[in-house]
Amino acid sequence: MPEDLAIRIEDLSITYKVNLEAKRTLKNAVMRASLRQEARTRTVEAVKHMTLDIPHGSVLGIVGSNGAGKSTLMRCIAGILSPTEGRVIVNGKISTLLALGVGFNPALSGRDNIILGGLASGLTKEEIENKTAEITEFAALPEGFIDLPVRTYSSGMYGRLSFSVAVNMTPDILLLDEALSAGDAAFKEKSFERMRKLCEEARTILIVSHALATVTDLCDTAIWMHKGQMLAKGKPEQVVDDYLKFLNVGSLPSNLEDM
């Protein structure tokens, strides 16, 4: 892989089967087997023959309607899901925020959860302890909350802490899936600033967002995915414009905020 690339996606396809049973229980499986019936499943082609190169230092926005395959693509880049065909090559340390409240045990304090989240992402305990103060400060939790159980946090505090853990792990590649909707306006601005700083340091960021203004503000490239295929790639404004035309909703401020 060329040295200037952070991620190379080669003819990637991801297909999986989903079980359509209302309850996936052993009892149902035994009943089905005794009646010689097969489980009702549906094959989902989440990503179809996608090829893409993402250079170091780029901020890529991924737009598309629900079920387009955006989250599946992100999980494959993170190594969480396996490709069915093709391959993904990644160069650098990855940090992810693909599901809010990652690694968080609600009975434990925010501080304990920061350690768990960091260790799960592959950092050493020493590295995490050095970053704890920075993470806590960035999350802007009210005083003393960092040592309280996470179950006492508001959803905003929970989201801010998750985001803070992800961005402060000094990743080479940061994958964010709808992670910017967590905080208030002030936190959002702070998050934008942090991400711009990460870009200046040539770190790569991939953002999945329905808030199209976020994509046009932050990203230097965008792709539009639809039913597992990449329909467009280019300047964020152009891609967002094409996407809005496709949806036939126009570029009203409400659409740009949440699509």
Partner: protein
Amino acid sequence: MPTNPDFVPKIQVFEPHRASLPPLIPYIKEFWQRRTFAIELAKFNDKAEYLDSRLGKVWLVLNPLLLGLVYYLVVTIIRGGGHNNGLTTLDHLLIGLFTFYFAQNCITAGAQSVTLGGRLILNQAFPRALLPFSCALQAFQQFIPTIPVYIFILVTGKYFYPATQVPGWTWHFIWIPFILICVGITGFGLALVFATLNVYFRDTNKLLSYITRIWMYLSPVLWLPETLHGKAKLLLYANPLGPALTATSNVWIKGEGLSGLIIFGCIFWAVVSMLLGGYFFISRERDFAIRIA
């Protein structure tokens, strides 16, 4: 070339698995590198489990101790038995229960570890076997405090009834770490099996509570291993915990060493459980994120 100050080239290639297992050497390397995560997760889960309990970790000892006393009443007093026999039975019951609970906790907590670790699994790539492994570590941490309590009971019993069959200090106690390692590995291997099943069938855990109860009755916990004779003795070896529990009774209660057959039985079940559980779990773990989402 990236200019970020902490960039260290780390190429990762994600490809379809030709066989059902991912490349095992990188998997084991990654598992070893992130072992601190499993250790800390075990510590934190242990801490969280008893945060709201007034007696806290005392329950770790109290629970099997009370259960031991209940079974002692059932087995000895109702059925009848002399002082020495009663003490031997109590000692056997307690060490059997403590050891069985160690394995049971590995399995029951491990079985839920993947389904309860949903967000972690949806968000981060790491060897998923770390989750049941941390449960096995937690079960071991919870088992450790029962040993001094058991030794105290043994010593007190020996003091009041010096004629008891239960031995004093013997060099055969050096077998205890071997037995515990075998129990831990067997428990971890079976936890991998049940954790995988629980992802596909969410009622596995309910079934598991019945399985472990019946399993305990079939194991030499409430009865002494020498109760079985002839072909019935095969029951001990067909049970994944049978050889280890027999070994436990031999060392703690009779003060004897382990026969070759018992050592083989302990190692056999540890290896079989690990291979079976490891294959079943690792070959399916890339599917977990889809099943859990």
